[in-house]
């Protein structure tokens, strides 16, 4: 038996679906009909959406993407660790440790204030310029260091927000049990803070995954640079589209997962 309310809701839902479907079809039809009518479309299609070029370059692009993944894989844990250390350094209250606190503040201010690409240039070209012996003069190493330094500054701020977001009563409870400040931070505050900021950090690491491509400017032949090489060889922009697709295959699921974590956290809080 269908109640009056259920029947009404079914009607409303059916109508909403019809309107949403209709408008989507209209917009897509418009795009597929109107865009190809543009005067430059045949040329754009040939140079950006060329199936032959795509098939020819895609395996090479995937291979180059492995370098992006490698750089990401060894910089992510370093960023996590350095970000955490900087966040903790900003919380130190002992007078003797004041230089540490000051350094942490300066560090986050500077690295959050300079464009990533500038940091990559300065460190990636500057430090090998000191004349270090191989392999310590590799732009691959120093470019990654630049990424680590930049992203750790952001991650440190996220951790700090997480630490401050743990309710004061948790500190009071830890203190009332006679725990030292360090133990209270390590066993009570930090575990809660890190959990709280997982979604925020996920978003930063998704951004990092994309910014790895910036290292191409100082040398390493990762996917963006590889796509550029193919572009020059074949006089065709399709490799860039292929590279974009590869990035999307990673970042869209990761973004959805971060959103899922966020909404799960919101639900848990209410």
């Amino acid at each position: 038996m269908v109640t009056r309310r259920q029947a009404y809701e079914t009607r409303v839902r059916r109508k909403a679906n019809l309107v949403a479907g209709g408008s989507t079809v209209l917009v897509l039809a418009g795009l597929f009909i109107l865009v190809p009518l543009a005067p430059g479309w045949p040329a754009v299609k040939k140079s950006f959406f060329n199936a032959d070029v795509f098939m020819q370059t895609f395996p090479g692009l995937l291979n180059a993407f492995l370098l992006d993944v490698t750089i990401f894989a060894w910089s992510a844990p370093l960023i996590f660790a350095l970000g955490l250390l900087v966040a903790l350094a900003r919380d130190v209250r002992a007078p003797a440790a004041y230089p540490l606190r000051l350094a942490a503040i300066l560090y986050t201010d500077i690295f959050r204030g300079v464009p990533v690409i500038l940091v990559i240039y300065l460190i990636g070209f500057g430090i090998p310029g000191l004349g270090l012996p191989r392999p310590y003069n590799s732009p691959y190493i120093w470019g990654t260091v630049a990424l680590v330094l930049t992203y750790a500054a952001y991650v440190a701020e996220v951790f700090r927000a997480g630490i401050e977001g743990v309710h004061q009563s948790q500190r009071a409870a830890a203190a009332s049990l006679g725990l030292s400040n360090a133990d209270a931070m390590r066993f009570v505050i930090l575990p809660q803070a890190i959990r709280k900021v997982v979604p925020a950090n996920m978003n930063l690491f998704i951004a990092l995954q994309k910014d790895v491509a910036l290292l191409s400017f100082i040398g390493p032949v990762e996917i963006f640079r590889q796509a550029g090489v193919y572009k020059s060889l074949l006089a065709n922009f399709t490799p860039y589209v292929g590279a974009a697709l590869i990035f999307l295959a990673i970042t869209i699921p990761a973004t959805r997962y971060a959103d899922y974590l966020l909404s799960k956290q919101r639900r848990a809080r209410t």
Binding site: Q170, A172, A175, L177, G178
Partner: protein, 243 residues
Amino acid sequence: MTALLETRNLQKSFGSTPVCCGIDLAVNPGEMVCLIGASGSGKSTLLRCLNLLEPIDDGMILFDGHDISVPGLDPQPIRQRIGMVFQSFNLFPHMTAAENVMLAPRRVHGKTREALRPEVETLFDRFGLADRMAHYPDQLSGGQQQRVAIVRALAMRPEIMLFDEITSALDPELVGEVLDVLRQLRETGMTMILATHEMGFARELADKVCFLDAGVIHEEGTPEQLLSNPQKDRTQAFLRRIL
């Protein structure tokens, strides 16, 4: 008999708002003292000062004859000997009930989980929580959470326990189980200070009841004297309002 915990002219203000304005309180070993009074009368602040969670502005706190309110004193060893239970439980949400209880003895006294287990199991058992050790706080009712919080404080073997309105955040039907724990604790001879609104409970078990008003102990006496036969107008007015 010397008092286990004593305050002399204890003063505390937050910014320009005075909260405790000269409190003199003495608690003897084995005694149970109840603090009553309206919200904002300074009960919670007094308890937090006693546990050194808040530094006091002036006056003195004597614990076992020693002044523990000396500015710059390391509060940690003192707090290890004074247990505290909060209105909103303040359990650590990322740890099981048993882990909550074992954290401080492990870190402060350097005991292992294995060494602590028998003692902790006995405590959980004693307060009807034997099957709740592996539960996380959000899997427990308010009454159970508050009992775990009491067990957590007891596991440090404190010499005195401070209870800050520990039944105020509970549904009425859960208040009884927490008060039962306090009754059991009373039988063991634990020295206790309670800030409470449970007048029936204060009448039943307290040795002394103190009525706080505007940051001072306005009137104090045995439960019989203070609750049944208050001498001062304000005490009478307060009791009329809540009874």
